[in-house]
């Protein structure tokens, strides 16, 4: 299948980070070391292209702090990520450790 969306290296890295379970904006910054001015616009673009999807977390998870927005990779996003990994072999090496659920 032809993948319609071509990702920049940074976007691919962010997409990969999300797929590894780092689903919040600030978490992605911590893991990738990218500044907020890069990460957030990239998240907006990925969401616009339907590669990721955003949702508000549940009240139960947030407890007493404000609700955070999290992102998860869509099926199309996974396909695009696979083809991006083929294009950028270095991505695999940059991949963060998969995050364990919780926190």
């Amino acid at each position: 299948m032809d993948i319609p969306v071509k990702l920049s290296h940074t976007s691919a890295l962010i997409l990969q980070t999300i797929s590894h379970g780092y689903r919040y904006g600030f978490d992605i910054m911590d893991v990738t070391g990218l500044p907020s001015g890069t990460v957030y616009p990239a998240l907006r673009r990925l969401e616009r292209d339907q590669l990721i999807q955003s949702k508000w977390e549940s009240e139960a998870l947030a407890q007493e702090r404000p609700l955070r927005k999290y992102y998860r990779v869509t099926r199309l996003g996974n396909e695009v990520l696979m083809s991006a990994i083929k294009r950028y072999p270095l991505l695999e090496r940059l991949a963060p450790e998969t995050k364990t659920r919780g926190r």
């Binding site: 600030f26 500044p35 907020s36 001015g37 957030y40």
Partner: protein, 505 residues
Amino acid sequence: MKGRLTTLGQCQMILCVASWIVPRRARAEWRKEWEAELAFAWQISQAKGESSAATRLRWRCCGAFLDAAWYRCTREDLRSTSKHWSQMPTFVLSVLFGVLLLLAGASGDFPRLRSILLRPPYGDPQHIVTVSRTGVTSSAEWVVPYFWVDIWRRHEPAVEGVAAYSWRPRAAALMISGRPAGVASVRVEDGLFQVFGVRPLLGRTSRPSDAQDYRIGLLLSYETWRRNFFCDPNILEKRATIDGQEAMIIGVLPERFWFPSADVGVWRLADKRSFSREAVGVVARLRPQVSERWAEGALQRDVSNMTGEAFWGSSLQVWPVQERIRQPLISYTVALCITLLVMIAVIWSGRLNLYPRYAGAVRACRWWTFFAIKSFLLLSILLAAVVEFTPEPYVFPPGKTTFVLESVSLWIFSVGCLFTLWWSLVDQQSRCRVCLRRLVLPAHIGGSGCLLLGWVGTELACPEGHGLLHVSETDVCWLDPAQWTQLDESWESLFSEKANDEVLG
């Protein structure tokens, strides 16, 4: 602790400022996301007791500006924003105001318009008159032989002063200290400025008695001095030539002084000899208590007695300068009034659906105020453009009728008035009766096949959902105005920005 609290406050302030960049509809959610992240990061850093967290958080929050800018600058967003702006009533007013400012810049602050509208700097203007012949066959025959001027100057007690001028201004090449300027010039007698009782801004208005004769004496208009010579205060000492002949600048006239045309930039002083065989224009200053009628008879008698001139069908006319200066203004006003009458007739006939019937007094007031300001700006632009940028006939030759017939600007103004006011009305009709935004989403309704049974036309909607305008396609009769349907608040959700975007794609 206090310092750390300030860091959180600072970060929140940064986010608050950045949020103003985000389009309104996405702003709340955008801010909620950023503030939640900030609160979480703040909690963690406090729990860990990190000292570098404050700076890091501040930097992260500064990145919010780039995120906000992304929202604002997406192309689709820009397109829809500009569309929204152009629908607003303030958009039209700002564009019109901008055009007016542009015209002001291009013309140099409307010099011609100001010369018509504002009082010229003549001393006791009510006593200054022009003397011309009436009842002549050609409009160029209003001038009188120069020797008549001499007769009046010597024998007529009714006039305090009288002066001649060559009535047709002509283009002249003026050069002062190597700086050239092309201006309209007119030859006048020394005494003309005394007749007008005008005080010069610089220098004097008559040639000094000890001046060398061979140089031509020149007086500059304020506009020429300002525009071509940048208000040079030492201009009187500079070397000057006019059409290659040596000249001396003896003075600069005050702002708004003009005669016999607003275009004249330089007056050349000329003596009796150069006028002696010419027909000239005449200005005179009447003595107080002498009426124009009385002066006409007296001047005519003088000429008949001295030369035997019979005046047959023609006669002399003494006409106050003030009245002649106001003549273009009167003509423009008459043209405007005629157009307004036509427009009022159109509105009265009900051809256009203009009156906000469903609106309260405040809305009706807003509606008509907007219409008035828009029309006023349009007419001002038109008037400024035609007066400043079309060739003007010389007001001081013939009379009213010639001005009305020969003035290009008056004709353009009259036709332009009709068009601009018509546009203003049509624009008004296609606006929401509540918020004054331009109506959008034109939808064709009905089939032309069922004209007799159903209604065929276009329906327009207010982008905010205040109402619908139905414009019929084929008028069943001439008096078939567009219909406005007010929508109540229950319709609002249909017209929310989201729904709107979906429709507009």
